[in-house]
Amino acid sequence: MAGIWIFAEKKELVLELLTPGGELAARQGGKLTIVVPEAEGDPADYFAAGADEVVLLSPLAEDVTLGAWLPVLAGEIRAADPEAVLLAATSRGKEIAARLAARLETGLASNCLSLAADADGTLVMERLAYGGAALQRVAVMGRPVMATIPPRTFPPAAAAAIPGREGSVRTLPPPPADTVRVVARKEKERSAQDITAAKTVVCVGRGLEKREDLELARQLAAALGGEIGCTRPISEELHWLPDNLCIGLSGVQVKPELYLGLGVSGQIQHLTGLRGARLICAVNRDPNAPIFLAADLGIIGDLYEVTPKLIEEVKKIRG
């Protein structure tokens, strides 16, 4: 039996996965099933965006993890026998995907940037390897084909593409608690800004000497009408900025119109997080910094000398 299954913990992620999922389902003429927590909106929105079947997960008790659904999901997928299962590559999604793949004894392509059927119908996925230095094309040897796809890889499927479209809805009863118990949930210190949506990102790296100097980057970002981000050492070793502002392979991926790196050397793991940027600019005093190879415009100079001048010039031009 053909069919495509989609699982994500949030509505916007389901809508994104419906974009490639819809194409695959249309190509094979199979049913498109989505699995989502019940709290994530009206099934009609998913039907309008192309889903044929919506499977709702009943709310879980406070101390139960999303992973408790694993045996239920494995059973549902085994019974439906879809050709492919797409999951959002969130922390929970990636863990559930890998554990599901183990239970279903199939292959999983992680963190896919693209997925498409080739001439003979085999699904081929592209992903990064070697810290972002390599583009790896993979195929799954098993059924279902499983893939995780990072948030914002695909645009959301148009929610009103097919008004009035209907489908079937099922609600799964809560699963028994599993052996991992939630004792607390903390909204971590997060920046209110969302750099993944920002049109301009000013990113600070190890070239920044002290925490107070973030102000310089903030002023430039403000002048350009953008937000600030950082490299991994700034958030994870120095803790100068929250980790939802860390750009890179193990952080967030950004696709701004303008990325401007201040004192960013350009490690491959960081560059991987900004490969979707339209214009990449860099200020670094080391002319051999790898970021200049990945940039469109670069200033070789000390960020402490250059940044105030940039702020002034930008203000002058933009009035």
Partner: protein, 255 residues
């Protein structure tokens, strides 16, 4: 105190990968390293060991990965177990997890298994969760803080999720995958390296294990990721700054 297993992978150091002609990758001059993420796993294992616990460093790979054993042992592990076979040179995640599970099941008593969040080469982020499934034990992934209960027998872990942090508890045996920020891995000194050479290593061959299943993920091609752009370079003189900002404007993205 707990018997801890830390899994690690000996990987190609991506800094040595050259770009060959036509987008090909040139691995002819590569060196290898202990996967960065697994250094955090080894460090956390030694931290969780406490008084009277043990740390076993475990890897599966081709015989060339033997170099990684000394590296892992110099990072504080007590013993190492090496599933070594030419057939283990390029395993996919399902195969690696299967080999590790077989080795652990029959040879290594454990309370806690710690893996890095992913490997430095493939970064599939699957071996930890798959290994937990193969062993039939709970899995807690993407952990940024780990505490073994004072009375033993269970752990509390802070796992990073999209909206913040989920603090969870689980009893032994349990598998945890750790994020880089969980600790700062030690840099082994000369003494650590010397001591590592005296620590016991157990080697397990392919023929001692059940038959290896087929790979479930097939690599069709591996090419250089195109990140290069033609960078126009500027100095710091006032006219350079002005030209730079004008160039930003002209690309139409500064507004």
């Amino acid at each position: 105190m707990p018997k801890v297993v830390a899994c690690f992978k000996w990987v190609v150091d991506e800094a040595y990968i050259r770009k060959g002609g036509g987008g090909a990758l040139d691995f002819s001059a590569v060196d290898y390293k202990l996967s960065e993420y697994d250094r955090n796993a080894l460090e956390e294992a030694t931290r969780c060991r406490g008084e009277g616990g043990t740390v076993t460093a475990l890897t599966a790979g081709s015989p060339e990965a033997a170099k990684g054993l000394k590296d892992a042992l110099s990072r504080g592990a007590d013993t190492a177990v090496f599933a070594s076979d030419p057939a283990f040179a390029a395993l996919d995640s399902s195969q690696t997890a299967a080999v590790l599970a077989e080795v652990i099941r029959n040879r290594i008593p454990y309370d806690l298994i710690i893996c890095g969040e992913g490997s430095g080469d493939q970064y599939a982020q699957q071996v930890g969760p798959r290994l937990a499934e193969n062993l039939g034990i709970p899995c807690i992934s993407y952990v940024q803080k780990l505490t073994v209960a004072a009375e033993g027998g269970r752990i509390t872990a802070e796992r990073r999720v999209e909206e913040g942090v989920e603090v969870v508890e689980a009893s032994f045996p349990v598998l945890v995958t750790v994020l880089p920020e969980i600790n700062i891995p030690r840099i082994p000194g000369v003494k650590d390296t010397l001591m590592a050479g005296k620590k016991p290593v157990v080697t397990v061959k392919n023929e001692e294990l059940p038959p290896l299943g087929a790979a479930k993920l097939k690599t069709l091609a591996m090419t250089a990721a195109r990140l290069e752009r033609n960078c126009e370079l500027f100095g710091t003189a006032p006219e350079d700054i002005a030209r730079f900002v004008t160039a930003l404007q002209q690309k139409g993205v500064s507004g």
